[in-house]
């Protein structure tokens, strides 16, 4: 029997319908504009499809889960937290998650948007997988299933007889809602969560076999890059944020910061969590340097978005041919093309139509670069 933490942010997505591009701090305004809750309906759609699954649900009282489960016809649940009133907020989300952790749930199924994902992640981190039922205004985080039905399908598949639930890394992205309302997409990675996914969900993996295990793919990339780095002890390597670059550091026996830029040379750590100034200083001492970055965010950014430490002039100093892009096939399946947004459109263009992305042990792919600077996710 599986134990699932089930959580609904009842106000998620309310701002979108009334043109608020997000609901953070604007629930009252959204309601005044006539917004209707949509998250409970979306969550119910998923929950109905989970009836009969060998799972027990732990949830929050009232609109944060219990009511949805009752409407969906799921009787086997237990309330672990009761919000003080009908109006709920981030504190209730976090309190529920703390209760989930205490009770040892193996996965949190939640319904909301990027803000909800961020609140949950701030409590549970990557200790248990998160799976989002999409209901928010913005869903740049990689923890969301494509549709409510897809979320149910991932669990049904993963917990079916003789099956394994496969997990992969997914960025939890923090979007500056104020800037977003002004028309600028400014994202930063808040953290790297674990999320289940269904191998074979895309046509690609039906036809060309990919290893369903992303962890193994990361290790393969890391093994290759370790050998490259050992073969070039005179080169300074700057490792960017993300789970794949962390795996490379792990392979070298070095602990890197998950969200920062760290420098390594000849197997030795040269600096942690570097800012632009630190990187410039290092480049002054080390004439030969390479930058190792992964594809970030659900939108497929290679540079830019969450990597502001790497300014256009830093990239020019390092040289675009000394940038090694790494990504697991799993990540690329979600982001079939990538975009480069260094902040300098001329520089973006120099990367050309394709970039080479290392995807495994001695394996790379040619990946098309989308029109530079334009996000292609659907806000």
């Amino acid at each position: 029997m599986h134990t699932v933490g089930f959580l609904v942010n009842p106000v998620a997505g309310m701002g979108g319908a009334v043109g608020l591009k997000g609901t953070d701090g604007l629930v009252a305004e959204a309601i005044r504009r006539g917004a209707q809750p949509r998250a409970p309906r979306r969550a119910e759609e998923t929950a109905r499809l989970l009836r009969g699954l060998p799972a027990r649900f732990l949830t929050s009282a009232g609109p944060m889960g219990e009511e949805v489960l009752i409407r969906a016809g799921i009787g086997d649940y237990e309330v672990v937290y009761t919000p003080p009133g009908r109006e709920t907020g981030p504190d209730d989300t976090k309190a529920t998650c703390r209760a989930f952790l205490e009770r040892g749930v193996e996965l949190i199924l939640f319904c909301g948007g990027d803000g909800t994902a961020r609140d949950i992640y701030s409590v549970v981190g990557d200790s248990i997988p998160l799976l989002g039922i999409p209901a928010g205004v913005k869903m740049y985080s990689g923890v969301f299933a494509v549709t409510p039905a897809a979320a149910a399908e991932i669990l049904r598949q993963g917990w079916g007889a003789g099956r394994t639930l496969h997990c992969q890394d997914a960025e939890v992205v923090d979007v500056d809602e104020e800037a977003y309302r002004q028309g600028t997409l400014s994202t930063r990675i808040f953290g790297i969560a674990r999320t289940p996914y269904r191998p074979g969900f895309s046509q690609l993996s039906k036809q060309v076999f990919e290893d369903p295990d992303e962890e193994r793919a990361k290790k393969e990339i890391a093994r290759f890059l370790r050998e490259v780095m050992e073969g070039t002890p005179d080169i300074l390597y700057i490792l960017g944020p993300g789970g794949t670059t962390a795996a490379i550091a792990g392979e070298l026996g070095i602990k890197k910061t998950i969200l920062g830029f760290d420098a390594v040379k000849a197997g030795r750590l040269e600096g942690l969590d570097l800012n632009e100034g630190d990187i410039r200083a290092l480049l002054g001492h080390h004439p030969r340097a390479r930058l190792v970055v992964s594809i970030l965010g659900a939108q497929g950014a290679v540079l830019g978005r969450g990597t502001q430490q790497i300014s256009p002039s830093v990239i020019r100093t390092i040289g675009k041919d000394n940038i090694i892009v790494v990504a697991t096939p799993h990540k690329l399946a979600k982001t079939p093309f990538v975009f480069i947004d260094t902040g300098d459109r001329e520089l973006d263009r120099e990367f050309g139509e394709f970039i080479t992305v290392v995807t495994g042990y001695r394996v790379a792919r040619r990946v098309r670069v989308a029109g530079s600077g334009e996000p292609h996710g659907s806000p």
Binding site: Q203, Q207, G231
Partner: protein, 455 residues
């Protein structure tokens, strides 16, 4: 306007052409993996019949094709040579494009050209069963067809991921009476060891080879058989090029360009060796012979010319060839038959000596070419053959620019009727264009000590 150039059955070649006899110096010999010394025939006896070992090491220029083998080859040979008028018109090229079509054989590719004689010699020497491996299933189905004709049992270790993905190749093997086992299996020690470590493994050609060899070595009535790379396999395929030369002569042609796709090198050897022989002898010095390989597994274009093992485990003799390293596992492209880290030692030598040259293409562009070919000439080619199609189209397009009226010949080595899922992926925009990061790989190898100094 003659579209099909056909030869009568009595013009089918009666001898195989052995290009080793025309090389300016002998090929570097295969080395014993344990001693590092050149192989002697006895080293190969546990897995191959004596006649094939003789052919592997022969320096005779022509080797007679046994009458019983000719009888079987006549089921589809001589194969047709086509003039690709419709493709030429589509490309608006002054070049004349000819293609040899090996898809007319019962298994649908060039593979039975060697499967039949291999089964025959094993039968003659009292062998009762042959074990082999297959990736995408072309070789397995060809050997199933051939062994059944000569009354031999056949066990085929098929890479597990293909076994699930290409169910019809497996069905063909069953129709021809062969036993097809997903590899890794519990039948061999090698298979069990892999399964214990990783029950969910997808398998690989390297593992399947190890299983088939182990099966042959541990059963006295059983031999092993290989569908490419080795000299005797290339030898058997030379019927293709010999027929082409005669068919082209019938329309007063001789090729300026000869093209074939390369995995282990056998279909390319088949079409090109007779012409490469002409080049070595100096009768046609200017002929351009082009080996086409996938960019994801660019053995001839980015590999090293050195001694390496033929399999992942390092059990086979060391062969002097272009190699990406025997531990390189090529990515899962749809042209499964081109996923090999090494290459035929003869093809390697000829590329190294500049008698031939090699180019590479990405998956998506070869499928673009295959679609053009299917919509002009009608044949839906195998993903492997689409590499040759792409190179022929590029050569013809160059003639359009230069105005040259070149004669282009390529080997259309098999049909793609069992590869429709690959075409589905192409139309769904899901083909992955793999790259071989050669500079990084060279750097990664810098710290690894050279094995035995065979360079």
């Amino acid at each position: 306007m003659q579209t099909k150039i056909l030869l009568d059955e009595d013009h089918m070649p009666r001898r195989w052409y052995n290009i080793l006899a025309d090389l300016p110096s002998p090929l570097d010999p295969p080395l014993h993996p344990a001693t590092g010394k050149p192989l002697v025939p006895d080293d190969l006896r546990p897995i191959f019949p004596m006649e094939l070992i003789r052919q592997e090491m022969s320096d005779r220029k022509f080797i007679d094709i046994p009458a019983d083998v000719q009888d079987v080859l006549r089921l589809w040979r001589p194969s047709p040579l086509f003039r690709a008028y419709r493709l030429e018109k589509y490309l608006k090229t002054p070049a004349r494009i000819y293609y040899k079509y090996e898809g007319v054989s019962p298994p649908g590719s060039h593979k039975p050209n060697t499967a039949v004689p291999q089964a025959y010699y094993n039968m003659k020497e009292g062998i009762e069963r042959i074990a082999t491996e297959t990736g995408a299933g072309q070789w397995g189905s060809a050997l199933a067809f051939a062994t059944q004709i000569f009354g031999l049992a056949c066990t085929i270790y098929m890479v597990r991921s293909s076994y699930a993905q290409k169910p019809y190749r497996k069905s063909m093997m069953q129709v021809w009476g062969a036993e097809c086992i997903p590899s890794p299996s519990t039948k061999t020690k090698a298979g069990k060891a892999v399964l214990e470590k990783d029950p969910e493994t997808t398998g690989s050609l390297g593992i399947a080879i190890s299983e088939a060899v182990e099966d042959a070595v541990t059963h006295s009535n059983t031999n092993y058989s290989l569908g490419s790379v080795l000299n005797h396999v290339c030898l058997h395929q030379t019927v293709i090029g010999q027929e082409c030369r005669e068919q082209l002569a019938a329309v007063d042609e001789y090729p300026d360009v000869v093209i074939g796709c390369v995995g282990g090198g056998s279909n390319f050897a088949g079409i090109s060796f007779p012409f490469a022989g002409d080049k070595l002898k100096g009768t046609h010095r200017d002929i351009d012979i082009i080996a086409v390989e996938p960019a994801s597994c660019p053995t001839l274009t980015k590999g090293l010319y050195t001694y390496d093992f033929g399999d992942v485990a390092g059990l086979t003799p060391l062969l002097k060839m272009f190699t990406l390293g025997h531990d390189f596992v090529p990515p899962s492209i749809h042209a499964g038959g081109l996923r090999y880290h090494g290459d035929s030692p003869i093809v390697s030598r000829l590329v190294h000596d500049g008698v031939m040259r090699a180019i590479s293409y990405h998956q998506t562009e070869v499928f673009d070419a295959a679609q053009v070919f299917a919509r002009t000439e009608g044949i839906i080619v195998a993903p492997e053959a689409s590499h040759a199609v792409k190179a022929a189209i590029d050569q013809a397009a160059r003639c359009r620019e230069s105005g040259e009226e070149k004669t282009i010949l390529f080997n259309c080595s098999g049909h793609g009727n069992f590869d429709m899922s690959a075409y589905d992926a192409y139309y769904a925009g899901q083909l992955v264009d793999y790259e071989y990061p050669d500079q990084l790989i060279r750097e990664s190898l810098a710290r690894i000590p050279k094995v035995g100094g065979h360079d």
